[in-house]
Amino acid sequence: MHFAHNFQRSLPILGCVAALASTAVAFEGRIQAVMTQGNDTRTLLYTVGTDSLRVEMTATNWPNPVDIVDRNSGALTLLFPNNRSFVHLKPATEPATATVPEAPNMPMTPAGLPLGIGPRSAPGAPSMPAMPNMPALPFGVGPQQQVTPAMPPRPVMPNLPGTPGTPAAPAMPAMPAMPMMPMPGDKLVLQATGKTVDILGYACQQYELKQRGEILEIWATEELLPFKPYVQNQPHRFGPQRLDDQWPALLTSRKLFPLRVSLRHDHGAERFRFDVQSVTPQKLTADDAKLFQPPTGYFEIQPLPF
């Protein structure tokens, strides 16, 4: 009786241990993915060992760099087949969330109207303004003579909404699509949408990132490994980071691996896609160990002194 009671108490603990054990087994094997941007399609191969990761571009006859990552420390070794050299880079200390840089104060943004547009309250009756003075139009822009007619004569007075005795005014339809502007200091945060789907047998959750009229949709899983983007040289940039530069670090910090990524404009046109084509769990052989070291005959170069 006492034993049974103890056993019952320990069941949830055993369940947790079993669950932890199943997720604690690090993925080992190969992942093949295709990245498409514009007319450019790249095939990436992830060779995942217990302690190391190799990322390379395949299906190409060009000597592209190869990434070797120490999965424990995060240190990166870049191999350059074009000149038979390699460089060791210390682990990057990237922020977990990307931040839009600070900028001067923005004029007061109206709120409370569809899609964040418009004033918060109705304005008071303004004084009679001057006749509209239309801005000068750039060359080739503006109303076409044969398409847009000139200012018409005094139009018929439209029905005023809410006037007693008239039907209720229809609600103003939604404003046309307008990108939401990132505010200074806003952090890009990986937002889970709550949608889930199985891709290649892996339970994936959907995440979204939005910036400058673009939506990045990510289907990612915790069952593989923390994502490492393929890099071709020492990552360093003066200019602002765009959405497509920032999402990999957000996934890495959450220990997620994407099986599908799609970057679209608000209006639907896709301009970037990442698709995992196959995931092959397999124990790597002793021969595979050499994949995680610079080949014989390669010489070491120093990192650029940024």
Binding site: G116, P129, P179, P240, I301
Partner: protein
Amino acid sequence: MKTQLTRPIAALALLALSILDSQLSSVFAQGSLAPPGAPAASMKSLDQIEPRTPISSAPCTISAPGSYYLTANLHVNGGDAIDITASGVTLDLNGFTLSSSEATPAGTGINLAGANTDITILNGHIQGGVTYGIGGVYGGAGFRNGIGFSYTIPANVRVSGVSVSGCAAYGIKLNISNSTVVDSCTVQNIGVWGIQAGSISHSVAELCGDTAIFAATADSCYGNCTGSGWGLYSGTANNCSGLNTGSGTGLSANNANNCYGQANGNGDGLDALTANNCQGSSGGSGTGVRAGATATGCYGHSGTGAGLSAMTANNCQGQADSDGDGLDATTASNCQGHSNGHGNGLNADQTATGCYGYTGTGIGLSAGCANGCSGQSDSGDNAGLSCNIAINCYGTMNGTGSGTGLSAGAANNCQGTSNNGTGLWASTASSCFGSSVNGTGLTSNYGNFSFGFSLTGTPVIIYYTQYNMP
């Protein structure tokens, strides 16, 4: 008769002069007309001014301060050609060439060994047999480095008028922070880095497997990288040009002035914190010009990425051939953005002033606040100009698209036109005019002295309140 008289007079005058001249010459004589002896030496020889030591064979080591010069072309089959292990050395290659035929390049043409200072290398050539071959690979015999240092870092080093070619790793490699200067040098067919130094001027690095020129300050330089590095990377770059024919960035600098960067692959054309009068182009998905702070008077172009991206853009232009945005900025002033595909012509997160944006099917101009701006979209269901606040703006939606000409939270003194959609759509419209062929001319919650016209649709829809309306 007159002629007969003058002849005897002239003859007499000549006779008198000849007598007088012989007497004068003896009266005013200053000495002997015999030439003096050979002049004595009055100048110092070159050796007296600066004793120079000839170098006539390699390998050799310069281990004492002084001035050295080559007397012939020198060749080594392996290892370094010249090692400099002392401070205060000037080495004049004297127009001659150091070369190597080492099968697996390991040696250096001129190796600066030890933490020495005050070294100058001038006027000559360093050659190996490494070449950039088909398939993008560097290979061949020769030096590993043209001019370099090992382990410890030399300081106060100047390299001038030297050409380096055919090295497996570095062309001219000095430390960038130890008063090192490279001027008027050329390097070519270098496996890794072309030239690295604190200050590089009037120099060219062509066909380098990684970063071609790396400097704290680069002036009037050109670098070409065939790999994933940079054509030119510098703290400050003036009048420079960087080309990347591989996958990296054309030109990158903290401050770039009058520079040009081009990436034929997916790298950025020109990447800078501050860019003035610069131009950048990316053939792939990179950004034409990317400026972390301010871009002034710049032009950026990209194949499938964004044309120009900056925190603040003044008098700039960006063009995207495909689906990228033409110009992205937090604040844009007197700028133009152009996207041929689905991207937006010009995006300004905060304010756009005096700007113009054009797009194929995206939003012509999108801004938080737009003042004196114009936006145009040729098709689709987006908007010619879309913003929170529009003042003195114009937006047009051409073609068969059903989008809005101008869409704003508050529009003041604006105009919008559309073929099939709404001409102008604003929550608050004041002194505005909207026109449409088949859609509604002007739609608003609150209208004030605003007008609309439609050929086949409704001229004006005001949902709540209108003032001073016809």
